[in-house]
Amino acid sequence: MASSHGAPPVFNNKVIAWIDHRLPIFSYVEKEYHTFPTPRNFNYFWNFGAIATVMLVLMIATGVVLATNYTPHVTMAFDSVERIMRDVPSGWLIRYMHMTGASFFFAAVYVHIFRGLYYGSYKAPRELLWILGVVILLLMMATAFMGYVLPWGQMSFWGATVITNLFSAIPVVGDSIVTWLWGGFAVDNPTLNRFFALHYLLPFIIVAVVALHVVALHIHGSNNPLGIDPKGPQDTVPFHPYYTMKDGFGVICFLIVYAIFVFFYPNALGEPVNYVPANPLVTPNEIVPEWYLLPFYAILRAVPDKLGGVLCMFGAIAVLFVVPWLDTSRVRSCTFRPIYKWFVFLLVADVIMLGICGAHPPEGWYVPLSRIGTIYYFFHFIILLPVLGKIERPLPLPPSIADAVLKKKVA
C-alpha cells in the first residue's frame, strides 16, 4: 500500500484501486499528505496553517447552521439573533462559536503571517503562495466586516456606515459608489440583505483561494525555520505521521484556548454596545471595529486627510503584495539576519501599538502615537526592507537541514 518517493502507490483494496484508476483521489492524498517530503525541522509556528484551515471549516459549519435561523431584515435581524441565543436549541453555543471563532481565525492567520515574515517564506519561489495568502486575508476582512453587520446592533450599523463611507473619499464618483454599495441613501434593509448574501458567499471563495494556496505550497514544499532548501531525504520526513501528528497536537492546544473563550468569556472580545439594536438617528459615543481590524483603523485615523487616510489604510494591506520584491536579502530566515530580526519584532510591537491606538478615541497621546506607528509601518516595508537586505551581513548558513539539526542535538 505505502510507497516510496516517486513511485505510484499500489492499492490492495479492489474498490479503492478501481476508483483510483479512474479518479486518482487516493493517489493524490497519498502523495500530498502521506509521503509528501517535508522539512524535518518545523517548529510550532508551522502549525498555524493547519489551525487556520480548521477554523475556516468551523466558521463555515457554524455559519451555515446559524443562517437557518437568521432573518436578514432590519426589523427582524436583531430579534432573530436574540432568538438564536435564547430559544433555538444549542443556538447560544453555535453563535458563540461563530463569534469567538472569527477572532481566533484572525489570531491564527496573524501568527501565520508573522511566521511568513520572520522566516522569509514569501521569497522565491513562493511569491505567488504569499500573494494568495494576502488575497485570503483581504477576503477574510471583507467577510468578517459583513458578518459583523448582520446582528444589526448599534456597532453593526455604525461600523457599516463608517466603512462604506470610506468609499466616498474617492474623487468624483465616490458618492455614487456609496449609494450603489448601500442600495439606497443610507445603510438600510437593502444593505443588510446584500451583506448577508455576500457573507454567505465569500467563505466559499476563501476555500477556493485556500485550495490554490495549498496547491502552490505543494509545488516547492514548505519553507522551514532555517530557510534553506532540503537537499535530500536526510533533510525531510514524510508528512504523515510526523506532521499530521504535530499539526493535530497544535490544533488541539489551540482549540482548548478557543473553547475557554467560547464557554467562559464569549463576549470578552466584542463590543457590548452591539447588544443595543441599531438606531440610524443616534451614533454611539465611539465607533470601534473588532480587535483584529484595529491597527488598520488606527492608520485610517492617523492621517488628517480623509482620502489620504483611506489610501493609507488600504495601502497597509496592498504593501504586503509586493513584500517578495521589496526584500532584497537572499537569506530567508531571520535566524541568520542579525539586524533585520529585531526590526521584525519592532514591526510586531508597532502593529500592537497601532491596535491600542485604534481602540481609543483619537485624542491626546493617541494621535502622535498612531502617526508614528503608521510612519514606521510604511518605513519598515518600503525603505527598511529593500535597504537592509543590501547592507546587512547575514550569519553563515548551515550546509544542510540535517547537519544543523543534528549539530544542535550534540550541543
Binding site: 455604525w158 456606515t161 463608517v162 462604506t164 463611507n165 470610506l166 466616498s168 449609494t179 450603489w180 454599495l181 448601500w182 442600495g183 439606497g184 441613501f185 443610507a186 445603510v187 438600510d188 437593502p190 446584500r194 440610524p280 438617528l281 443616534v282 451614533t283 459615543n285 465611539e286 465607533i287 485615523r301 488628517p304 486627510d305 480623509k306 487616510g309 483619537p362 485624542e363
Partner: protein, 188 residues
C-alpha cells in the same frame, strides 16, 4: 489548397484572419460588459427606495433656538430655528476662513429661491465618515462654533452647518427643500 485562399502575412501585415480574431474578440468583450451591467445595476437603489425620497414637515412647533431631527431617506435631517445671534454669527464669517467656502444665504435658500435665514435645514450626517453630529438636542455639546460637534472624530460645524475644524472635508449637506407655506416644508 486552403492556404492559397488565405492572404499570407509573411511581412507582418495583418491578415483577414487577424481582423476576424480582433473583431470577434471585441464583440465578445462588448457582450461581456453588456451582460455584466444588469448585475451591477441591480445593486442600485430600487424604485420603492427612491419613492420614499421626500417628506413634509410642519415646523410650527419648533421654537426659536430649538432644533429637531427628522428621518429622510433613512438618514437624520436637522431643522434648526435659528436665533438672531446664530444668524449674525453665520453671516459675519469671512469666506476665506472656511475650509469649504459657502455663504450662509446660499444655505438657507429653498428651491423656489426664497431666503429664510431663521430656518437652517441640513442632512445630519458628518461629511467625514457618516456619524450623526451632536448639537440638535437640548444640552448636547455644540462645539466651538456653536453649531454641531461630531463625537466620532471631532469635526466641528458652525451655526450654518459649515465645517470649521476637524477631519470632515465638507459642510453638512443642504437637502433640496421647499416651503409650501410659512410652516410647512417639503424635503426632497
Amino acid at each position: 489548397m486552403a492556404s492559397s485562399t488565405i492572404p499570407s502575412g509573411a511581412h507582418g501585415d495583418p491578415t483577414r484572419r487577424d481582423f476576424l480574431m480582433v473583431a470577434t474578440g471585441a464583440m465578445a468583450a462588448v457582450g461581456a460588459i453588456a451582460t455584466a451591467w444588469p448585475f451591477i445595476n441591480n445593486l442600485n437603489p430600487a424604485a420603492d427606495t427612491l419613492a420614499l425620497s421626500s417628506i413634509e414637515v410642519n415646523v410650527k412647533p419648533i421654537a426659536v433656538g430649538q432644533a429637531i431631527t427628522v428621518k429622510w431617506r433613512g438618514r437624520p435631517v436637522f431643522i434648526r430655528h435659528r436665533t438672531p445671534e446664530d444668524i449674525k454669527e453665520a453671516e459675519s464669517v469671512k469666506l476665506s476662513e472656511l475650509p469649504d467656502p459657502e455663504t450662509d444665504t446660499a444655505r438657507v435658500t429653498d428651491s423656489a429661491k426664497k431666503v429664510r435665514p431663521e430656518w437652517l435645514i441640513v442632512v445630519g450626517v458628518c461629511t467625514h465618515l457618516g456619524c450623526v453630529p451632536l448639537g440638535t438636542k437640548q444640552g448636547d455639546p455644540r462645539g466651538e462654533y456653536n453649531g454641531w460637534f461630531c463625537p466620532c472624530h471631532g469635526s466641528q460645524y458652525d451655526t450654518s452647518g459649515r465645517i470649521r475644524k476637524g477631519p470632515a472635508p465638507a459642510n453638512l449637506a443642504v437637502p433640496s427643500y421647499l416651503f409650501t407655506s410659512d410652516t410647512l416644508v417639503k424635503i426632497g
